[in-house]
Amino acid sequence: MNAAFLVSMLATCVAAATPLLLAALGELVAERSGVLNLGVEGIMLVGALTAVAVTLATGTVAVGVAGAVLSGMALGLLFAFLTVTIRADHVVAGLTMVLFGDGLSSFAGHGLVGIDVRDSIHALPLPLLSNIPALGPIFFRQNILVYFSYIMVAGVWYFLYRTRPGLALRAAGEKPSAIDVAGWNVFKIRYLAVIFGAGMAGLAGAFLSVAYLHSWAEGMTAGRGWVALALVIFAGWHPVKLLGGAYLFGFAYILIAESQVIGGVFFLISTYVMQMFPYVMAIAVLAVMGRESVKRRSGAPAALALPYVREER
């Protein structure tokens, strides 16, 4: 294994991690506002399909990606309506959304399975940056959606920690009554957060279908939506840690793929054990946080999955 191989493998890790990163970033924002959206997997599938379908129909991948984001946002609107306005159970609504997304995408994508998406997103090496030794080829010879994911991490971080609405959003997930009195509309905040999260999930699905695997297949997300949920927990609901976690998980994905090539019983067991890694790590993080979360230093948002009821006037 020489340096060149390592570099190219790491570059693939970044690409593999991107759908996780995008979906998890969106879910992070939603959960920070107090809404648990378990439906990420289903929304990603719908996004993946929409991207392929619209790209094939219009011939332009940009429109396809836009369509995927819009489809995600539409599902997000539905989910927000159920959980924020009707105050239905978040868990049941989320699981149903997975079912719905899975069914909808399989049904609508019936005739599109396996078609190669010609106008897909190609790599876009950045002028100066891509020539930095080692880091350049890994991070800066990616496609535009990957660059977008870098920007989004910074954007979400800035929004949550450096802006007023971001502060209010975080408070909505911790103690919604505190901001209600201060004049913020908790419902509006949660709606927007959920729609954003679902839009990102749609985008993640689009990446998977038009920029990574270049076609549509039933169930192609293969559990990545669930890994994204684990990722949010693993990152302690913090966007920068999310970036690190996503790449760590992406690395695990690629390692698994590589070891399958090498083969052998030993590697096969390790493969699956490695795949457990995200989930076990998430539980470990929860367990450690559990001890500290009595003081709520870095635990789950305090008001997560609790519908907000405003008192009568």
């Binding site: 648990l36 378990l38 539905l78 159920l82 009707i86 105050r87 239905a88 159970d89 868990v91 049941v92 609504a93 699981l95 149903t96 959304m97 997975v98 079912l99 719905f100 899975d102 069914g103 909808l104 399989s106 049904f107 609508a108 019936h110 039933e218 559990g223 669930w226 949920l229 684990a230 927990i233 019983v265 096969l268 067991i269 493969t271 699956y272 054990v273 795949q275 457990m276 989930y279 076990v280 998430a282 539980i283 929860l286 367990a287 559990g290 001890r291 979360s293 009595v294 789950a300 997560l304 999955a305």
Partner: protein, 345 residues
């Protein structure tokens, strides 16, 4: 005042109709004949005894995972881990079936016992994490699902893989470890399910621990007042719930399949949805799981008729979405207390 159960029933039926309606719109949009499609589904699922039998094949595991979810949710413990507990049940039974040579009937009994134990332990893990480390059970049980699934995958792709076979299946279990079959497709557990439902119903309503579960599920403060330990009840409920979900897994591998494989995903989650629709009532869980089995078999029959079976997942989801909205709204109408106690200090 309309009795509550009637209101909820009406809400549910109305939701089914809306779900059918929404699905019809989808069919019309893609120019698939609506009546023909629904008829194919109905006929293939309930049009004959053999159709019903096929429906019950789907019903069986869902009934168990549904009952499992019902027990947990009654104590307001959000057990999302039915999927993983089911898989661990399958693993436990396979462990005995493949790794030991016990004589009948000891073999089957031990295999079932081991499967239930494994499911229970898996459920107990979630409870332990919650009670001792304050970990949210939704998140931990969800994560544990995938750990369990991957564990079984590692076995059937690895050391337990059928020698010479290309597919991820274990060897067939010896006959002593197989469930006696009933009819052409079903196995003995199809009778066990209603019996279990009955036992659970009796236990939940008439036993001390059943009462404690009800109290804990309604109000932790009242539980303290009644000197009931919420932690103890949480652990108990998760052990039982995990064990019952494990039965679903045992049924899948010791039934007509006869060997360990990567179980069809989703039964665990469907059990949660079914239990929710059934208001966590054991008998209604049976009813709902039959209803669900019919829908799923309907989907399978579509495939034979060259119509895309994933339509049925849209149909399922549409029903549940409408039911979720409708039942949530309906249950709020009746629960407002007559005298609102407001402290006007």
């Amino acid at each position: 005042m309309i009795p509550r159960w009637l209101l909820l029933l009406a809400a549910f039926l109305f939701s089914v109709l809306l779900g059918l309606g929404a699905s019809s719109l989808v069919l019309v949009a893609v120019r698939i004949p609506v009546i023909e499609t629904f008829w194919t589904m109905f006929d293939g699922a309930a049009g004959s005894w053999s159709a019903l039998e096929s429906s019950l094949v789907f019903t069986e595991p869902i009934a168990f995972t549904g009952l499992a979810a019902a027990v947990a949710f009654r104590a307001r413990v959000w057990n999302i881990g039915g999927e993983g507990q089911m898989v661990m049940g399958a693993f436990g039974a396979s462990l005995i079936a493949l790794q030991t040579t016990l004589p009948a009937p000891l073999m089957l009994v031990t295999a079932v016992g081991c499967g239930i134990a494994c499911g229970a332990i898996w459920g107990g893990l979630t409870a332990a994490l919650k009670v001792w480390l304050g970990v949210n059970e939704v998140l931990s049980s969800l994560m544990l699902n995938y750990v369990a699934i991957l564990w079984v995958q590692s076995l059937v792709y690895g050391p337990w893989r059928e020698p010479g076979g290309g597919w991820p299946y274990s060897e067939y279990f010896p006959d002593t470890a197989r469930l006696p079959s009933i009819g052409s497709e079903l196995d003995a557990f199809v009778i066990a399910a209603p019996l279990l439902a009955l036992a659970l119903a009796i236990w939940l309503r008439f036993s001390r621990s059943g009462f404690e579960i009800s109290v804990v599920g309604h109000s932790h403060d009242a539980a303290r007042y009644a000197a009931i330990s919420v932690s103890r009840v949480t652990i108990l409920v998760m052990l039982i719930s995990g064990g019952i979900a494990g039965i679903a897994g045992i049924q899948q591998v010791c039934g007509s399949a006869g060997r360990l494989y990567v179980l069809t995903p989703g039964y665990g989650y469907l059990g949660i949805l079914v239990s929710w629709l059934a208001g966590h009532n054991p008998f209604l869980v049976l009813v709902m799981s039959v209803f669900y089995g019919i829908i799923m078999q309907g989907g399978a029959s579509l495939q034979i008729a060259q119509i895309d079976p994933s339509l049925v997942r849209i149909f399922q989801a549409a029903i549940i979405l409408f039911a979720l909205a409708g039942l949530t709204l309906a249950s709020r109408i009746q629960t407002r207390p007559r005298s609102k106690v407001v402290d006007p200090a």
